[in-house]
Subunit: 372 residues, 4 copies
């Protein structure tokens, strides 16, 4: 491999065992088999009850279990903490891990509030030898890495426009009951925090920094039933935005959690002076490129000519999977720990994403300037 990997065994703590918890576990189990290096030691797993913790530790192959997350973080045999707990726990857990001298792999969104994100970024800046990485897994697919490289290499000329959406429909059903996730205090932002931040992570990777945002949000299902009766939904079901980039390019942005029939439509296009790139995560193994002089758009199927695919499979057209993105993410963190290329987005870069989604959430149709 062309990058360093840790020469010593690293001890891993995993907090959370849901969608992302299992995904981290699979990644930790396979990262060295795929990319080489020393296999990490799956040291301790935390879930909310002792029984769940022990069951999942057994299933995921962790040596020990605990129902106290502080114990997982402070365990002396732990070097890296994977945090996949609910958003409201991100700040306390990540800060505890940083203070305990650990590297941190934290799921997105970074935090409930912009103040939280600022505090976390500031703390990370005080611990430069500990690496942080946020779970923006869609940055890791071979197709996206290839797209980003094409833009950087000038394959489509100078980027002049971005058009992006991230739509799902998990909240479209009006009979879906009310949850604390739909409140500012419990869930933070809505579609922007859950989906929009992923799109922002790709957008700035492709287009560079954002300088201005104008946005409007919408709550489509304004009250939902709870055992105590109807309660208001506080955070946005969808958001729309226009953007200006530092480069002079412009862009449009949309995200929705109530878009019927959309399951993982993280779809964008970059218009360059010499060509256009188009991507849709629902078909994450296809990248569409048009260059000046060609007849139309060409389908680039994921294959070993794209970054990181060959480590998984030598054969083009043999699809890369969602979970494998997370193996690349684990590798990125390990590589950074070993002194290689910085992983990203870390907490400091992640703050830039938070500024943008919070600007969208509070624009109400007026221009918001994004501070750098």
């Amino acid at each position: 491999m062309s990058y360093p990997m840790p020469a010593k065994e690293l001890g891993i703590a995993l907090i959370g065992t849901g969608f992302m918890g299992k995904c981290h576990a699979m990644a930790w189990r396979n990262v060295a088999a795929v990319f080489g290096g020393v296999h990490p030691r799956l040291e301790i797993l935390n879930d909310v009850t002792e029984e769940a913790a022990q069951n999942y530790a057994r299933q995921f192959g962790f040596a020990r279990a605990t129902a106290r997350w502080e114990d997982a973080i402070n365990d002396p045999k732990v070097d890296v903490v994977s945090i996949t707990a609910p958003n409201g726990m991100h700040r306390p857990m990540a800060e505890a891990a940083l203070r305990a001298g650990k590297h941190v792999w934290l799921e997105k969104p970074m935090a409930l509030t912009l103040d939280d994100a600022r505090a976390m970024a500031a703390l990370a800046a005080q611990h430069p030898d500990q690496k942080t990485i946020l779970g923006y897994n869609y940055l890791r697919s071979p197709a996206f890495q290839s797209a980003r490289k094409m833009v950087t290499d000038g394959v489509i000329g100078k980027p002049v426009a971005f058009r992006g959406v991230y739509d799902e429909d998990y909240s479209a059903d009006p009979l879906l009951p009310w949850s604390w996730r739909m409140t500012h205090e419990g869930g933070g932002l809505g579609a922007l925090g859950d989906l929009g931040c992923h799109l922002v992570s790709q957008m700035i990777a492709l287009m560079g920094p954002v300088t201005e945002v104008v946005a409007q949000t919408q709550i489509v299902v304004s009250t939902r039933n709870s055992p105590e009766g109807p309660k208001p939904v506080e955070n946005e079901d969808s958001a729309l935005a226009l953007l200006r980039f530092a480069s002079g390019a412009q862009g449009s942005f949309a995200t929705s959690r109530v878009a019927r029939g959309r399951k993982c439509r993280l779809q964008w296009e970059v218009h360059g002076t010499d060509g256009t790139l188009v991507f849709d995560q629902e078909n994450m193994n296809e990248l569409w490129l048009h260059r000046h002089g060609e007849a139309g758009f060409t389908r680039h199927l994921t294959g070993p000519d794209q970054p990181d695919f060959a480590a998984f499979c030598p054969a083009p057209g043999h699809n890369f999977g969602f979970n494998e993105q997370k193996v690349v993410e684990a590798r990125d963190l390990l590589r950074a720990i070993a002194g290689g290329a910085a992983c990203g987005p870390d907490f400091i870069q992640g703050l830039e994403i938070e500024k943008i989604i919070h600007a969208m959430a509070t624009s109400h149709g007026s221009v918001v300037h994004i501070e750098r």
Copy 2:
């Protein structure tokens, strides 16, 4: 047929013989063969020189030719005037035709300026017995008509969001020379006037009136060569907008004439509370529908179950063509003249489209309220 068609022969004058002139000619020649009714009489054709006028009159099958457009309009044997001349001539020609007592089929955009459009709408209002129709041909395809009917019939529930783009790349080449079409005085708006107005016509047909617009525009190629040296491009290469509709729905909007690889990407989606509709004019015979409870999106190929297709072809999947949209447009005008359903957009409805694109052109990131 289920609608009235003119019982008497109508005399037609055609002004212009380019892209749209030929398209009108083909439509006039076939409208009665397709839909029944009395065949219109192709009376007189106008082009800029006598020779061109005579040649095209022969090719298109018009009885007479003239190099003076006023003569075509004022000809006593003419009942309907097809105006396909450059945008700057739309107002004088349309006003002359209305004053001469003629029905008018006018290509879009309606006029160079919003003031022109207001004057034309006001004059049309004074001539209620003369029918006007604007060349928003994309409204006429069976797929679009079907989509509009689905939205109206509540197939996707209440529409809550619109996402639309109309992108082409005819101005993407920076070596394309400067033209008067790129000036405010000669060409009026840029991408908004040429492409965006089509998208607005579909958007309001699907979503109803717009109340607010926030937009920004972009000139990607700011100067172009002319025989006298470089000259500035004055009107926009692209525009992005956010919208609020009177219904409470929200929307995003984009148009570009510099989008490499896009040839007729008039693409939109309507998000409803119970489903989603998706369309792309580059595949104008496909409409994609997802409804609550279904597995995903279903492809609706154009067929005789969609409005107006059966008059052209009894067999589904046998593609409807761009030019055939114009045959439906001719039929819509004839039907209105015969006292049937109003054709649309007429000059009065067309003014609404003009207000929106001019609001986009002048928003510069601030909210513009659209007067009704």
Copy 3:
């Protein structure tokens, strides 16, 4: 235009007013408007009753009407006869027209039986100054013409394999009543005669002559209801075949009239030593090309760079329609009459298609050699 068109007005007779009859009428009305040349004179129309003939003559713009097809054919003012009557009438009508000295535009399939087709080809050979053309309209689309040219020009190297299907579902419903079209005597072949012959027409245009066929057929719905009770379906619902071409290439072939959900799936691919071409008539404005060294398949949207499109529309991506194929077909016949490039397939070339589909119908799993 770069080809001759008739300098004198030709009188047209049209026999039949159904799907294809209307399609011929629209084509005759517009062919000169699109391609130049002298407009044909729509002389006389034949339908089975006087009333129908008169009504359709009025709608389609023919000067006279008759319920006797012989009168239409023998009319001294008629130069060209369009035959769109049921298949069983093809031979008598076409022979009568040839004997009356007329040019013939005949819908496919050429005839009910191979013997009929041989007789018709022989008679046409005796009338070399009268042009014949068969209604293989799918050969006329810009995308197909472009594909054929690419193959001929060696864009994909030497063609080594063909894979083709033509599937529809118009007979899939088992409740569809029995019809004489499902008998050998009344309808001739089944899916092969109705659909398969179109695929053969494209296949030999792309791949050259066929030397061997192995095929099997299938009747999926073996009896259907009639007012007199259940009756057997005699001709095939579907057929499958393997082919060898004179060039050494090989191929597979399939056609079905009972393929649920398929509406006009005339889909094929040509594998060459240097590339691959893929087409599907349901998206007739897309051609997909891969060439050695490129990343994947590139979408070629129909545009003025493809043959004959520019005469209809100067703008790429503005879809060509099914009916417009027929305008090109009319032009091909007129051009041949005017002494230009031979139109094809004429009756002699059409016989080659008939030999292949009849070989498929009678192979029953054994190799059939195709005589030249």
Copy 4:
């Protein structure tokens, strides 16, 4: 989970470390994390040199390494042998493993010759308590499992036709040098053995047993360069076939290793009396279903409603990957060992696949009856 998994730890030997060797390793590492049960013990790895064996044992996490495959197979701590060595070694290795009392996971194709396959199936029949499974991984994707279930459940009525291809282009380049893999003795069959057998595995899973085959093969690049000069390619570059199934259905079949631009086009459709199913492995997370009464084909994106997906990811539209198919395959073997549902295809079922591909290879245009 709804099926038994081994209660005791099983020792694994892995033979081979290439494309499939790594794939087996990743699967063994994650199968229990994904599906539960006791984690297998990665006991010993075999590669052709000691150094390679030790390096890969370290990377894949196996406890020991050996350059002698017999030692891996006969190791007393080994319960299951993963065989991913070249095809010519399949028979001796698999027989040795069966004789040593081990369960066997063998990559496809089963063997070089039909005689070899018969012998292996016979031996497996003598060891009914040892489970065998062949690496037909494409049977394991959620989309394929869902398709198979739909067919079995009658969602598309009675299946009447199959159309399938499996095309890649790895041998398309004529400059690719000669290899022993292109000989009968060294490589066995060509495209049929490498690709076609996968398509057969899916075909019989969907359609049931095959009774008759007619086929033809083709060698497109007949000689290739070697250090000793040009040498002949002996096995087929492509094959085409027609099929009859015991059910009365019919089918067509094609496979090629020289199809330019195709990377993993394992594409098929099943025509049923009430609907049609369409699949393409290059988009392995999409299944297209049309049912009688619906407008067209509906896209079914892989999600937790399809078999086995939820164990990997709870979110629909979050793509399943090629390698994850192999995790399901490992689970299938473990489940069978634990006394659950038989995995398939085992060696006895695999022989059926071999009979069909060898019949295709030797048909030369004549009907071959497949014995049961």
